[in-house]
């Protein structure tokens, strides 16, 4: 056997076979040599404000300006611990709580449009810092990292209601009259440290205010927040009607007072009178 001819034949065959087996070798070599093999772009379509407690849809588009294909593009989402994110479309898999969204391969000059929803805890306030990073995890094809961080103001919306549970007062054993007022928050946000006011008065003395919803009588002055879907029962106890107390006004209101958040002033009002005839008056 002629060693030189055999070796040369092997080398020639290897060169031919290798180039045929990898038909795109020339382009692959060229593309692998670029500093940035893939040029990923990340666009965010975010709302101008976020309402805590309310699902907020938002969109992203992940684009690859090429020249190569991003084989394993991955989207990382970040929004703080008070934010929950759920994928709607676009992710081949979404891992929570890491918030890692695997995307389908992105060929050059192509984009994926992704839809998500995030939920902020109802008591969130201030701003939410939302971050998204797009990367190709195929390190041998050069990750083209793209990072976007956006701060969005949080504007809470709390729909509060105040109503009498019973308009006709309950007469207690000692003759005092009691009304129950229900304060509700229909959300979606929590009302933090809402301002409550009691405009009840009676000629015959103070109208006692009790909170009966959680077993403590002092809650109206210590309300931290009124979560969405929750409420208080306020019990107002007035002195019995008498000559000196011919009229009782029961009024109760709630107004979440927060900077940068506007809420309606909700309250209920009732004036309770009864015919009362002093003995021998006629």
């Amino acid at each position: 056997m002629n060693l030189r001819r055999t070796t040369t034949a092997t080398a020639l065959l290897a060169a031919a076979l290798a180039s045929v087996a990898a038909p795109g070798w020339s382009d692959t070599l060229r593309l692998q040599g670029y500093y940035d093999y893939v040029d990923l772009q990340l666009g965010l379509q975010l709302p101008t404000v976020v309402v805590p407690g309310e699902p907020t849809p938002f969109g992203l588009f992940a684009e690859n300006a090429g020249p190569g294909t991003a084989d394993y593009p991955v989207l990382l989402l970040s929004g703080g611990n008070n934010m929950q994110i759920e994928g709607v479309s676009g992710c081949t898999s979404l891992e929570l709580p890491q918030r890692t969204c695997a995307l389908a391969p992105l060929v050059a000059n192509w984009a994926h449009v992704l839809r998500f929803r995030f939920h902020l805890e109802p008591f969130s306030r201030g701003i939410v810092v939302f971050g998204a990073a797009l990367t190709s995890e195929a390190v041998d094809t050069n990750p083209g990292n793209e990072l976007q961080v956006v701060s969005i103001p949080i504007v809470a919306e709390a729909e509060t209601r105040v109503a009498f549970v019973d308009v006709v007062p309950e007469t207690l054993v000692d003759g005092r009259l009691a009304w129950t007022v229900r304060v509700d928050n229909d959300g979606p946000s929590a009302a933090i440290s809402p301002f409550v006011y009691n405009a009840s008065w009676a000629y015959g003395g103070l109208v006692d205010v009790q909170c009966t919803s959680n077993g403590t009588a002092s809650c109206p002055d210590q309300m931290n927040y009124l979560g969405p879907g929750s409420g208080w029962n306020i019990r107002l106890v007035a002195p019995p009607l008498s000559v000196d107390n011919p009229e009782i006004q029961v009024g109760y209101g709630v107004q979440p007072q927060e900077a940068s958040n506007a809420f309606d002033n909700d309250g209920v009002w009732l004036v309770y009178r009864d015919a009362f005839f002093r003995d021998g008056f006629e």
Partner: protein, 384 residues
């Protein structure tokens, strides 16, 4: 021509055509020419090695030698080291990366069939190749005005980043030798080509290309009494032009970071290295938190360090064997187209830019390794 005439005489002429084809392809030049020209554009490059192999068959058939030379063995050792680097932890096998290695070995082995005068033909062929690459690159540049985008649009497989123009700069000593040897139109064409290249080097902002052209040409001319002053002038002009491009030292600082990372990778994987094409997978671990150049860089901008990091000691020994073999085969030979100035320019580019990811590096390295064979038999006065 004789082959075509034979073919036109009918079936009996077919044998005549085959004989004429075999005679024409008896040396490595047709295969080399076809391969290099096809590699000038991305659409034709995939066929370059297949065509080369077909055209090399007559030369292979006529080969009646039995012994492998040290040069042959070193080329095979490099291919073996490439395969062995697969034992490294970061190796990512990609058929594309294996193609130029296989082509490199085939080219070195084919070069033994060189005929007298082939060196001059290869030098002329390289000029054609340079022109075929320069024209689309410059046309794209006039359209985009951006060196990187222009090279991307030009789709020349050898030219991936602007500094890849440096391969042309490495060949300047050969072209200048050709221009000095020939008179008339050839000389004018060569001078025009060099001027065009110089314009491209400046437009594309490749300082390393200017430096390589100056070092290679300056070294060649300094050895020649008639060209000594021109050589010194070339070096001075290149130094001035290099600074005039005004890129500062940021690129050198960025390279220093990459070199340190490559060295750290080698220290971590000394025997087989990280694996071919593994640098990009591991270098960021060894980079500063805020690097000078934040771009993801697939190669360390130093061929020796790249070989150490990716191929380990095994690969480095294989390449060292090739260098020794090349030096031994070049020693004592006298050719018109000296190897040393080109090798020095190539070494400069290799130390600060070149990568095994580049097709031109493999093809040019094969030419350098095989040059004593290609230049064999030529009469001349210059030492290699």
């Amino acid at each position: 021509m004789a082959a075509v005439e034979g073919l036109m005489r009918g079936p009996r002429g077919l044998a005549s055509f085959a004989r004429a084809f075999g005679a024409a392809c008896g040396g490595p030049l047709p295969a080399l020419a076809a391969m290099l020209i096809l590699q000038c554009h991305a659409t034709t490059a995939p066929w370059s090695f297949v065509v080369m192999v077909v055209l090399a068959l007559p030369a292979w058939w006529r080969d009646d030698g039995a012994r492998l030379s040290l040069v042959d063995a070193s080329a095979l050792a490099i291919a073996l080291a490439f395969a062995v680097s697969g034992l490294g932890p970061g190796w990512r096998f990609d058929g594309a990366n294996a193609v130029p290695v296989a082509g490199f070995v085939a080219l070195v082995l084919l070069a033994r069939h060189a005929r007298q005068g082939d060196a001059a033909r290869v030098v002329a062929l390289l000029a054609v190749v340079a022109l075929l690459q320069l024209v689309p690159a410059l046309v794209a540049y006039t359209r985009t005005g951006d060196p990187s985008l222009a090279l991307r649009d030009a789709a020349v497989p050898w030219l991936v980043v602007p500094n890849d123009l440096a391969w042309m700069a490495c060949a300047w000593p050969w072209w200048i030798a050709l221009a000095r040897e020939r008179a008339g139109a050839t000389r004018i064409a060569i001078v025009a080509l060099l001027a065009l290249q110089l314009v491209a080097f400046v437009l594309f902002g490749s300082r390393i290309a200017i430096a390589a052209a100056a070092v290679g040409t300056g070294y060649a001319l300094l050895r020649d009494a008639r060209g000594r002053w021109i050589g010194a002038g070339a070096l001075g002009l290149a130094a001035a032009a290099t600074f005039a491009l005004g890129k500062g030292v940021a690129s050198l600082e960025a390279r220093m970071e990459l070199w340190r990372a490559a060295w750290s990778l080698f220290v971590a994987n000394p025997v087989f290295g990280l694996g071919a094409h593994g640098f990009v997978a591991g270098y960021r671990e060894w980079m500063p938190a805020i690097p000078v150049d934040p771009r993801v860089t697939p190669w360390p901008h130093s061929l020796p360090l790249e070989l150490l990091a990716q191929w380990g000691v095994v690969g480095f020994v294989a390449v060292a064997l090739a260098l020794v073999a090349s030096w031994r085969s070049a020693r004592g030979r006298r050719g018109r187209y000296a190897l040393a100035p080109v090798a020095i320019a190539f070494a400069l580019v290799a130390c600060v830019e070149a990568s095994a990811m580049r097709l031109w590096v493999w093809m040019f390295a094969a030419l350098l390794l095989a040059w004593p064979r290609l230049d064999e038999g030529q009469e001349g006065t210059e030492a290699p």
